[in-house]
Amino acid sequence: MIRRLLREPLLQFLLIGTGLFLVYEAIDGGRLEAPREIVISEARIEALAENFASVWMRPPTAVELKGLIDDYVAEEVYYREAIAMGLDQDDTVIRRRLRQKMEFISENVADSVEPIEAELQDFLVQNAGKFARPAELSFRQVYLSAERRGDTVRADAERLLAELQAGRGPADPAEAGDTTLLPATMEVASPQQIASAFGEEFARQVDETPVGQWSGPIESTFGVHLVRVDERVAADAPMLVEIRPIVLREWQAEHRRRQNESFLAALRGKYEVRVEGPAAELLAVRDAGSAVR
């Protein structure tokens, strides 16, 4: 349970954050900057110099470094004064940028989490429908064109079906049907593959056909078909070891989504939101909706 909790990314996030905060405090020994003090640490200076070097391919000279520091001080002064004056408050660009930074943090925390096997196993079981292998069919079919045969197509189909069921049809049953580009056989085909060739209606009907005997007639958008399902590989739930990369991929996608949601929900929980005017109703509905979810 504790292990599980520890793997909760939001908790991880908070723990790491708190940890770093404490470490920082310990090292810094409470040497907090006074509100009107600007400290340019050696680390900051190094960063400024490095940034310069990455652009100009050489370290800054002493004069240039002084310029960089002056510029940084100016930036810091402006920044603090601007915040104090509330200039950040109504600036869409700043608000969006900050929001994006928060989303970025959330996304990257989610990405960095690797599930343990038991979690993947649980995810596979809970989402069995998503990972199930659909039933696959191997079948033969004889096609009768309604367009070419007109009114007799049903009767033709019934007659041919009786022959095939009695074992009296041609050696190659397809010879009894009409010419078509539709495949005479499909082997171990998924419902999606069958639908792609014959259309959804046919795929649904052939799935309900008994194994080992000629059946039909069933209809498609092309015409009328007699079918013989030779094999039905039942739908099954694959083991984790068989499809681990796919389960992992789906777990990560789901995890990322949930992580982003819960991160926002946790932060949002700190606030009471009050909407004024007629739109208040809209929010009430939305909140009810999210509570249900």
């Binding site: 970025f104 943090i105 010879e175 792609s196 796919i246």
Partner: protein
């Protein structure tokens, strides 16, 4: 006050964690040898299981089914799709990551950029994410205000405009495309030292994601990018596809038009890729219709006459080309082929000029702008050089920039987020600029098109790529009809009645994309051609064979033959087949399959064949008229569009040609 400071520190600490994780992530992405399952390591030449010529009599007699590993199921895909990693997609509102884009192509429902639930009618079998190599992913860095780029005042301004959204954002995009076309992009964007590492990590992450979503047998993701040179507004774009997984793709950096706008330089990059990684690459040119005569020009990029060496390399690296997409059809122009009555489709608006409308399309440019004309120029070059530079197969694709490759008329989400369903979208002026005399393009002129159909032996990266290399492909305007097309000398009318037409087709000749052998004395080429309607779509009107040939004077000629059609129609005295009819009810946006037919098949023998004349033949299959997306919009939004907006059309497929050359 102290507490305040403490809280700030706490937040700072959180930010530090975030930053560390970001760095950790980025460094992970830059490691090229992340082991990923499903990466194919073999580079052996793949043996094409299709019989190349006629099997020996003995083989036929003893084992009629032994060679039966030819492609039995056509695969549907899009080789031209953009995620948020493309600058122009992102700036116009596309926020779909590569991962989300793959999910959309697999058929999952999403909420579109403009807030509409959106889903493909049927999943695709394969997809290529072809994000622009130019500034790949960089625009997100511009948007996010990456300090490495913000030193440039133009980029700062663009960043602000994009964030402002709306018209400001689209102006930024127009500026950006313009700057690219005129080589005036801020240098920091094209500086490999600054932009390189950023783009490399975007490319590598996208490649890792492609591997994650590649499921052999079910859904194929090919790694690729779009090379986007637009000199003077002329479209020379190519999509580059790799046969390989991220282990190879990550070793290289996509080639962009910032490196060079010369196609020969792109081919050199592809060759270097193959040598360095042992992988394979191909390129797909598109939108000759917007190239103002440059796509099939007789000159190389530097203006020199094309050579045999150029022809060989172009044929090798560009085995297929895109004939249709949302920005119009490139088959031919009514002025080029006046006797062809099916060329109105996808012409309006796109014929005005090049991509940016920076130059008018003149009649002199047409013979080197369109695909069919390109095939004809290819014969002319072949006669002189011994090699055909434009021997390229055919596919279609979408070029959707909103990550929604939806090209069915009743489910069209436009090319850009700004063109997603909306009552008045049809009359918006396109942002591609304005030409002379106020020439402009409008949203209604965009096509809900197209798809790539590939006769691959299985649904894998390798098989899809190899099918494109042998040009066994066709393109459609968005319909998923099945088309078979074979050429040889021995097809007989009964072959079109065979229950095993594909087997007959492969055993007695070559499939689409192939070469006919020289004709024996007294023999003329025969073609086995068959088509079957989309299971969810409209009936078929007719199959045509388009022939181009070089006449005795060395001039290329063209002719369209109706070879098989529905409803027992008889050609009139002028030799023209009467129209199939029209069941479209524009007021309700419906049609009925009471005309046309579900399947057509025939064997056609060229009645005008001359053994000494080189030629090409491709099949075009035409559906009965159906409502256009504009008609669905009128019904769903209760609007009335102006009289010049077409409300119906005939969807179609074009196969790769089969070529005949007396010298082969």
């Amino acid at each position: 006050m102290k507490l305040e400071a403490r809280r700030d520190r706490g937040i700072l600490a959180l930010a530090v964690v975030g930053a560390l994780l970001v760095v950790a992530h980025a460094s992970r992405a830059q490691t090229p040898d992340v082991p990923v399952r499903g990466v194919v390591e073999d580079t052996e030449e793949v043996h094409i299981p299709v019989p190349a010529g006629q099997p020996s009599a003995q083989a036929q007699a003893y084992s009629p089914y032994a060679g039966r590993k030819y492609p039995t199921r056509v695969l549907w895909g899009d080789t031209h799709l953009h995620s948020a990693n493309s600058g122009d997609a992102f700036t116009t509102g596309n926020r779909f990551t590569p991962e989300q884009t793959y999910r959309i192509a697999r058929g999952e429902e999403v909420i579109s950029a403009t807030g509409l639930p959106a889903r493909l009618s049927r999943p695709l079998d394969f997809v290529v994410l072809s994000d622009h190599a130019e500034g790949l992913g960089l625009i997100t860095q511009v948007y996010e205000g990456n300090p490495a780029l913000m030193g440039d005042s133009t980029i700062q301004r663009w960043s602000r405009m994009i964030k402002a959204g709306g018209t400001e954002a689209s102006s930024a995009v127009t500026e950006l495309i313009g700057a690219q076309a005129t080589n005036t992009l801020p240098t920091v964007l094209t500086d490999p030292k600054v932009a390189g590492p950023l783009m490399m990590s975007v490319w590598q992450r996208a490649a890792v994601m492609a591997d994650k979503y590649n499921e052999p047998g079910k859904f194929t993701t090919l790694i690729g990018f779009e090379w986007t040179p637009t000199p003077g507004g002329d479209n020379l774009h190519r999509n580059v596809l790799l046969r390989d997984g991220q282990a190879r793709a990550s070793q290289v950096f996509p080639f962009s038009s910032w490196n060079s706008e010369d196609p020969e330089k792109l081919w050199a990059w592809m060759e270097a890729y193959e040598q360095r990684t042992g992988g394979r690459a191909l390129a797909i040119p598109h939108n000759g219709n917007l190239s103002n005569g440059r796509m099939y020009a007789a000159q190389a990029f530097d203006g020199s006459a094309i050579t045999k060496d150029y022809a060989e390399r172009r044929q090798r690296w560009e085995p297929v080309q895109e004939i249709v997409q949302m920005k119009g059809a490139s088959e031919s122009h009514p002025k080029l082929s006046p006797s062809d009555e099916f060329l109105e489709y996808g012409i309006a608006g796109w014929e005005l000029g090049n991509l940016t409308l920076g130059g008018k399309l003149t009649p002199e440019m047409m013979p080197t702008s369109y695909v069919r004309a390109g095939f004809m120029r290819g014969l002319e070059h072949e006669a002189k050089l011994g090699v055909n530079p434009f021997k390229s197969g055919i596919i279609g694709s979408s070029d959707a920039h909103n990550a929604l490759p939806f090209v069915e008329e009743d489910n069209f989400f436009g090319k850009f987020p700004g063109q997603e369903p909306r009552a008045d979208r049809w009359k918006d002026r396109s942002s591609t600029g304005e030409g002379e005399g106020g020439a402009a393009r409008y949203t209604w002129q965009y096509l809900a098109a197209g798809y790539a159909a590939v006769w691959a032996t299985e649904n894998t990266r390798e098989a899809v790529f190899d099918a494109m290399k042998r040009r066994e492909t066709y393109g459609t305007s968005g319909t998923r009809m099945t088309v078979r097309f074979f050429g040889g000398y021995d097809y007989t009318p009964e072959d079109a009645q065979s229950r095993y037409m594909a087997e007959v087709g492969y055993s007695k000749g070559v499939p689409m994309g192939g070469d006919l052998k020289p004709a024996a004395a007294g023999k003329a080429p025969t073609f086995l051609v068959a088509a079957m309607k989309d299971p969810q779509g409209a009936n078929l009107d007719r199959i045509q064979i388009v022939k181009g040939w070089l006449d005795a004077s060395g001039t290329a000629q063209e002719k369209v033959y109706d070879v098989v059609w529905s409803d027992d129609r008889k050609p009139g005295q002028d030799g023209k087949l009467p129209p199939v009819g029209d069941t479209v009810d524009v007021a309700r946006a419906t049609y009925a399959n009471t005309i046309g037919t579900a399947e057509l098949a025939t064997v056609w023998k060229d009645p005008d064949f001359k053994p000494g004349q080189r030629a090409f033949y491709y099949a075009r299959v035409i559906e009965i008229p159906t409502p256009r997306w504009t008609a669905y919009d009128q019904v769903r939004f209760g609007v009335k569009m102006s009289a010049d907006v077409p409300m119906k059309q005939q969807e179609r497929a074009w196969t790769s040609p089969i070529w005949y050359s007396p010298s082969i």
